[in-house]
């Protein structure tokens, strides 16, 4: 509040004389300059985000180029229906976010609050579906390389919901209770502004469980479609080597050269040392499912899968955090035609998170 701080140059911008809009920071000449600086900074931040994610895409490309068969094998354990549904949810949240930016520009306060609520709800529904995907994989031992469990052995059948799902759902459940109580209190107290914050937050917390419910439906549909899968798998291995024949067929298309190299990459048994002169009477080097189905093979895929989708999920959480901040400011009527920068910047970030998922979905779920 001191005038001495403004001693150099900005005499006309002293805090005493309020001749500038309340949102304009002192070090900017006008709202346009403030907006452009913020936007430039946001684009630069997005560049660092892309470079950050490119490290993981690089790991992906490296290991997939080395072991294509590991990727085709492991991808069958990802539920493409859930992935496609989540893509739709994320695209819809991008739409509502873009709509929210439009509302902020047009000073549509209620519209902005609704758009932010929808975006938050979609984000938490995405996480709910993700929770189903993750917990199902943890149950059946599809874990990162260090803990991966070979899938060809029959597993103890899981009845009911995964215990992991309960663990993950503690915080959303607490949020439902907390925001529900807060929402009721604001309704009773007649505090309209706070209820406009508490309401969307309650919807957001509930949407997690909507996502969990939808995820469970899809997961069960998938399981009933492949209900005989684990048994078929184990009998394959006991009865003989139909699995090998299958793997060979799958890789006929690849060049001989590529196959031999791929064998070096699969650290399994005699393959590594014998190389070209392997005693296998089939296409040399085409690794069998049993060789892929272990820590150094499919386990590696799941390390990369968890890393990429996990970091993406953390970005979703961070986006939800800043959106709550926007929501509070929106109810305070902070945004208008001249000042909608924060909404625009958060929108850019949110679309980038969407952009990364657009690439992750086909690259992880749709490999055949």
């Amino acid at each position: 509040m001191s005038h001495t701080a403004d001693a150099h140059g900005h005499d006309d911008h002293g805090h005493g004389d309020h001749d500038h809009p309340p949102f304009l920071a002192h070090h900017f000449d006008d709202p346009e300059q403030q907006f452009d600086s913020g936007k430039l900074g946001m684009w630069l931040f997005l560049v660092t985000e892309i470079l950050f994610f490119s490290g993981m895409f690089c790991a992906y490309a490296l290991y997939r180029a080395r072991n294509p068969e590991v990727w085709t094998y492991s991808s069958q354990y990802l539920n493409a229906t859930l992935g496609a549904f989540n893509t739709g949810v994320l695209l819809f949240s991008s739409l509502s976010m873009a709509w929210g930016v439009r509302c902020a520009q047009l000073r549509q306060r209620t519209g902005l609050v609704i758009a932010l609520a929808v975006t938050l709800g979609c984000a938490s529904m995405f996480l709910g579906v993700k929770a189903i995907e993750y917990t199902h994989k943890w149950d059946i031992g599809l874990l990162p390389a260090g803990a991966y469990e070979t899938q060809s052995l029959p597993l103890a059948h899981h009845e009911g919901l995964s215990p992991w799902l309960y663990t993950l759902s503690y915080i959303p459940a607490a949020c439902v209770v907390g925001f529900g109580i807060w929402y009721l209190l604001t309704l009773v107290g007649g505090d309209r502004r706070r209820s406009e914050v508490a309401g969307p937050l309650l919807v957001t917390a509930l949407c997690y469980f909507v996502g969990v419910g939808i995820g469970l439906q899809f997961q069960e549909a998938e399981e009933s479609a492949h209900s005989n899968h684990p048994e078929a798998h184990s009998t394959e291995h006991v009865n003989g080597h139909s699995g090998d024949g299958h793997a060979d067929e799958g890789h006929e298309a690849e060049s001989h050269d590529e196959d031999t190299h791929a064998s070096d990459a699969i650290p399994a048994g005699t393959m590594v040392s014998t190389g070209e002169t392997s005693e296998f009477d089939v296409v040399p080097g085409a690794p069998s499912d049993a060789m892929v189905d272990q820590r150094g093979g499919a386990g590696l895929f799941f390390s990369i899968y968890y890393c990429m989708t996990g970091v993406h999920a953390i970005h979703i959480l961070a986006g939800m955090g800043v959106m709550v901040w926007l929501l509070v400011r929106a109810t305070k009527d902070h945004f208008n035609e001249e000042y909608f920068g924060p909404v625009d910047y958060v929108g850019l970030y949110w679309h980038l998170v969407d952009l990364i998922w657009i690439y992750l979905f086909p690259l992880l779920y749709l490999i055949k």
Partner: protein, 133 residues
């Protein structure tokens, strides 16, 4: 940004998502990866142009953002070139999970039992477990 444009972009993105799911059911061999990446890039372009307002943005911002893709291309390109160059020299550590060993043991056991009836005794999987033991 008119509402019809936002909705149009959204439905185009949904249709492209369905297209990429459908494309994954076809058997296209090596084309598959290229095609799914192409569809993803079209979707990404739609998001960048319309949702991120790139068509109305300042050229400086666009140049800065697009330059990141150049660096990503350099990063990926050189790493893959390097990996391809050294792929014959790299030794990989054998990492077996206990269950894989158990499976292999069960397999070799089953082999011993089935040897009489099997036509091809030189089986693949029976070899890997002995290495692990």
């Amino acid at each position: 940004m008119p509402v019809w444009q936002l909705l149009g972009v959204f439905f185009a993105l949904i249709i492209l998502t369905l297209l990429t799911v459908f494309q994954s059911t076809l058997d296209l061999g090596n084309l598959e990866l290229a095609l799914s990446l192409l569809i993803a890039t079209v979707k990404a372009s739609l998001v960048m142009l319309f949702f991120m307002h790139m068509i109305h943005d300042k050229p400086l911002n666009i140049i800065i953002f697009l330059s990141s893709f150049i660096f990503v291309a350099l990063f990926l390109g050189f790493t893959l070139m390097d990996a391809a160059g050294y792929r014959d020299d790299v030794e990989l550590k054998q990492v077996d999970s206990p269950r894989a060993v158990a499976v292999a043991e069960a397999d070799s056991h089953a082999d011993d039992e089935n040897h009489a009836s099997e036509d091809h005794p030189a089986d693949n999987e029976s070899d890997s477990p002995e290495e692990g033991e």
